[in-house]
């Protein structure tokens, strides 16, 4: 299956979200191929559909002072944090071409992250009964998706850079879990572009995709 890659760079959450929803509409209408959107966000807290405000551990005033918005969104999962240095990957993939199975898709997404981390010599795992990707007991990637007409949206976020202090303001995914990042684990600078390339390689293999870069559709969608 052909799949275009769109890299939005560092972008405001709502701006990226609105882009994603327009892209989803175009894919649903058959006007565009399945797509993988890559981006990073300015600091923001998002709450999924079954999320609980109690999992935000600081006051809204405090977050406003820090210029961190709190946004309810249409994905599964609870509370998460996004910030620069974390790679957000939104696969908008036609699941009708695979198995129409949400768990199967979530497993495959987690597998992409596990395989990507393995290519950096980080041994990561899935934990039975918990979603996301962990290195020992610490969580390195969070997951939460939406599906409309069996096209997926939202996806997974992988902590790459060392600064993940924003997670201190929340109980990530409603869990009492410590978060980690690739740089914390490897104690060295990690090139974000290198991680993007590796993630796309793993998508190609695990989802059997023909991945290509296409920026010509950006204006039409945006």
């Amino acid at each position: 299956m052909f799949c275009q890659v769109i890299d939005l760079g560092l972008i405001d959450y709502l701006e990226a979200y609105n882009f994603q929803k327009k892209l989803l509409d175009q894919i649903k209408q058959g006007k565009l191929n399945s797509s993988i959107v890559l981006c990073q966000h300015y600091p923001v807290i998002t709450i999924g559909r079954l999320g609980n405000m109690k999992n935000i551990l600081v006051s809204q005033d405090f977050l406003e002072q820090k210029n961190i918005q709190t946004i309810y969104i249409d994905r599964g999962g609870d509370v998460t944090y996004h910030g620069p240095g974390q790679l957000v990957v939104w696969p908008l993939i036609d699941l009708k071409k695979y198995k129409k199975d949400l768990h199967n898709f979530l497993n495959n997404l987690e597998e992409v992250i596990v395989a990507t981390l393995a290519s950096f010599a980080i041994k990561a795992d899935k934990i039975l009964g918990k979603r996301g990707v962990f290195v020992q007991e610490e969580k390195i990637a969070s997951i939460g998706i939406g599906v409309s007409q069996w096209i997926s949206f939202h996806g997974v976020s992988l902590n790459i850079k060392e600064d993940i202090n924003g997670f201190n303001f929340i109980r990530p995914c409603g869990l009492n879990v410590k978060m980690t990042s690739m740089e914390k684990l490897l104690n060295q600078n990690i090139d974000l572009e290198l991680v993007k390339g590796r993630i796309l390689e793993k998508f190609k293999i695990i989802f059997d995709l023909e991945v290509y870069n296409d920026t010509s559709n950006l204006a039409r969608i945006g």
Binding site: G48, R49, D101, H103, N104, G146, Q149
Partner: protein, 78 residues
Amino acid sequence: MTQVILPELGEGITKATISYWYFKIGDKVEGGQDLVEMATDKAVFNVPSPVSGVLKEIYFNEAEVVEVGKVLAEIEEQ
């Protein structure tokens, strides 16, 4: 009347929570349009309307848990 059924969502997924009705009783809906958003632990799934028509019945409210295979709503075809 056409029944809207919560479809199979995947192996091991037996139920989901109604998170949002996009329409209310009496509204016109198009076939294929998202009718109701269901949530599982890490995924939301939009159930489309199988036909174009008028939404006549809604059997579950938001925040209620529904088993796979249950009738969510009924639509009078037009």
